[in-house]
């Protein structure tokens, strides 16, 4: 696996660190990890930086993860870059909403590094 550039969007700085650690434990070599505390910050980062993978929480203040995802697609930011939602919401309806908004993967909190590996690696290999 080549070095990848990642954007992690979560209003919790602790969760951003946990997601980063899980990606490293999954065997990914992270060249750059950009962090954003909201969807708005995430969009600003995507306008300025190139990334290979986006992981986003859904339940966030100001702009939630689904709106962030819709804006990425509407503004054609990061075309072809896989987006994985990481959230406590686990119903089929929430997964469906995320997929309709353009997500390629869905990870429920709490999660293990193995689950992150299973969801993320196939997306990076396919990209």
């Amino acid at each position: 696996m080549s070095e990848i550039r990642t954007l992690i969007v979560d209003d919790s700085s602790v969760m951003r660190k946990i997601v980063e650690r899980a990606l490293r434990q999954a065997g990914l070599t992270l060249m750059v990890v950009h962090e954003a505390g909201s969807g708005t910050e995430g969009l600003d980062l995507l306008r300025a930086k190139q990334v290979d993978l986006i992981l986003s929480d859904i339940n966030m203040p100001s702009m939630d993860g689904l709106e962030f995802l819709r804006q990425i697609r509407a503004q054609n930011l990061a075309p072809g870059v896989p987006v994985v939602m990481i959230t406590t919401e686990s119903s089929e309806e929430h997964v469906k909403q995320a997929i309709l908004a353009g997500a390629q993967g869905y990870i429920r909190k709490p999660f293990t590094a193995e689950q992150v590996k299973e969801r993320v690696l196939p997306l990076l290999n396919a990209a």
Binding site: D11, S12, S13, V14, M15, K17, I18, R21, N59, M60, P61, T87, T88, E89, S90, S91, E92, E93, H94, R108, K109, P110, F111, T112
Partner: protein, 147 residues
């Protein structure tokens, strides 16, 4: 199979759902065993409380309260960092534990998982405070110990 609101409330108020959610969150996110404890609760002067509201099919709140020393230990296990006091990172960690507990708990009942939203966590710190949730449909109050 359709499940009525009444049946959903009965399912989600099953105490085993709460215990299973706590065990799952602590095992997966902290790597420790956390079990319900019927022994005396150690009351510390300072505590940290995360409150996550439910809205939609179920109204109420998931409240996770921890003494300051346990909160610091939880944050350390989550982040791999060391803490001497209740700082913003410790508060953030406790808020996330509350968020995951609320999500795992309502996720045990599919009807609620789809039709009950969660608020972002609010975290309260300090001494000598009480929380009051108005007219709850039901209330579960469990103490846990992790090691």
């Amino acid at each position: 199979m359709a499940v009525s609101l009444r049946e959903s409330v009965q399912l989600v108020s099953d105490p085993r759902n709460l215990d299973a959610s706590v065990e799952e969150v602590f095992q997966l996110m902290l790597g420790v065993t956390c079990r319900r404890d019927s022994g005396p609760v150690l009351h510390e002067l300072e505590s940290v409380t995360a409150v996550v509201g439910f809205g939609g099919l179920l109204s109420g709140a998931c409240v996770f309260r921890s003494g300051s020393s346990a909160a610091i230990k939880i944050a350390a296990l989550m982040t791999g960092m060391e803490f001497d006091e209740i700082d913003d990172t410790v508060k953030d960690a406790i808020g996330e534990i509350g968020n995951m507990l609320a999500g795992a708990w309502k996720g045990k009942v599919p009807n609620l998982a789809a039709n009950c939203g969660l608020s972002v966590p609010a975290v309260i710190t300090g001494r000598d405070y009480n929380l009051h949730v108005q007219a709850p449909e039901f209330q579960l109050h469990h103490a846990y110990r992790f090691a």
